[in-house]
């Protein structure tokens, strides 16, 4: 069985069984609402909702590696904006002789909430949905099956190339290629390492294309699906709830 690149965590929870299209809608709604209602508590509320869904899906621990990188940037934003933001006037506090300002910190807080909200909403999607199911759902919704193939093929090709990379690294090192040292040495090492993998994968596309052609890849017959998914009533209810929340926030925006 080919390995696929994925963050999916197998658990048997209600969240995992929700239709993938609904999870995409959830992401869109939770990205849209803070833009429609730009108040800090709205973003905080959405973050809390996403966290509770992640807890329900029992995947909270897997969220950390996913948001780690962004959180480091956010910390640097808090520092830089807290110190240097253009509108800085009110002093918030001092650390040693360095002064942090309220306006900058508040701006950094707004940005952080916005980013964390997006990250967590996406985390629900990527941690509880199998990529293959997601692609199948999209194809059922009308995405061209040829592009469905492109997506799932991309997920498979990366692990394949990674294993090729492992053997090429070993092969080149055994021929005496230096991969550690000063910058010039490391730059020189880049080509012998990346060259064979990249050439190989591009040349392979020719064979892959032919292999697909002889299997009627371009056939215009209607495609059938391997997995038939029953449309659960709960899926429709969730969709309805998401749309009403979105409409409600638009109404609030107009009224307020």
């Amino acid at each position: 069985m080919a390995k696929t690149l994925s963050l999916y965590v197998e658990r048997n929870t209600f969240i995992h069984r929700v239709d993938s299209i609904n999870k995409i809608l959830y992401v869109l709604v939770s990205v849209a609402i803070p833009l429609i209602l730009p108040y800090k508590f709205v973003a905080v509320l959405l973050i809390l909702i996403s966290i509770s869904f992640l807890l329900l899906a029992k995947v909270m621990r897997r969220v950390i590696p996913l948001i780690e990188f962004s959180v480091i940037i956010l910390l640097s934003i808090v520092i830089i904006q807290g110190l240097f933001h253009a509108g800085n006037k009110t002093v918030a506090f001092h650390i040693a002789r360095i002064t942090f300002y309220k306006e900058g910190l508040s701006y950094a807080f707004t940005l952080s909430m916005r980013v964390i909200n997006i990250l967590l909403a996406f985390a629900i999607l990527v941690l509880t949905t199998k990529p293959s199911e997601l692609i199948e759902a999209l194809v059922k919704k009308g995405l061209s099956p040829r592009f469905g193939y492109v997506l799932s093929s991309a997920l498979q090709i990366i692990p394949q190339m990674m294993s090729a990379v492992g053997s090429i690294m070993d092969a080149q090192r055994s021929r005496g290629l230096e991969t550690e040292g000063n910058l010039a040495v490391r730059i020189r090492a880049f080509f012998p390492l990346i060259g064979p993998v990249v050439m190989g994968s591009l040349i392979e596309t020719r064979e892959r294309a032919m292999a697909l052609e002889v299997r009627a890849f371009n056939s215009r017959e209607k495609k059938t699906f391997l997995n038939e998914r029953q449309n659960l009533r709960s899926d429709n209810v969730i969709r309805l709830i998401l749309f009403s929340i979105l409409s409600l926030s638009i109404v609030l925006r107009v009224l307020l």
């Binding site: 830089i80 253009a86 980013v115 990250l119 990366i158 190339m161 880049f190 596309t205 020719r206 294309a209």
Partner: protein
């Protein structure tokens, strides 16, 4: 030999299988840049190669799908930067179509153009999501310095981005050019002469 039309939206099987390969190459480039601790990203070599082989449309799609895959498997925020990848794909495609990437010098100039385009597209995204920062230590240090000296956020953010993009995109285009030069001719013809593959019968 008829060249493919520049803005062709008809995808042959060959162009479709090129997209996953391009994404894999992007990934490998980023991986090696990390392993060798190079101060660059090198994560758009594949997109550039797809554009050089198959034109701006396929390049743009490779870029977009690349960021979707990254978003689904590593860092969700990269969904947003799909816009930058699309712009890179289109730019390289147009330059390559007009036959301007056939010497080392021209690939360097192409790199400069790509860097400017990428920075123009990324800057608004950086301002919206990160208050103008990029997450790169050198770029952000410059940004902090500029902001502290009352330079407008947009300019500071653009400079923050371009400081990183300049060396990165130039290196990317040189690498893509060297790889492209080494590809067998039958492969290049497969992509540039139109519908060859569909005439198997």
């Amino acid at each position: 030999m008829n060249k493919r039309r520049l803005w062709s939206f008809s995808f042959t099987t060959a162009t479709l299988v090129l997209i996953p390969a391009a994404i894999g190459i992007n990934y490998i480039g980023k991986l090696f840049a990390g392993v060798l601790k190079l101060p660059l990203w090198l994560d758009s070599i594949g997109t550039a190669l797809a554009s050089m082989l198959s034109g701006p449309v396929v390049g743009a799609i490779s870029g977009a799908i690349n960021n979707i895959i990254y978003g689904l498997t590593m860092d969700p925020i990269s969904f947003v930067y799909a816009l930058t990848s699309i712009a890179i794909g289109i730019t390289v495609g147009i330059i390559a179509y007009n036959g301007r990437i056939n010497t080392l010098w021209k690939s360097i100039i192409a790199g400069v153009v790509v860097a400017i385009v990428a920075a123009i597209v990324s800057t608004p995204l950086n301002v919206i999501f990160w208050g103008g920062q990029t997450g790169n230590v050198w770029g952000d240090a410059l940004y902090a310095y500029l902001i502290a000296h009352a330079v407008p956020v947009w300019i500071a953010s653009f400079l923050d981005e371009i400081v990183v993009d300049f060396p990165d995109k130039i290196a990317t285009m040189i690498i893509a050019f060297l790889i492209f030069k080494g590809l067998p001719r039958k492969l290049i013809l497969l992509y540039q002469s139109g519908e060859t593959i569909e005439k198997l019968d």
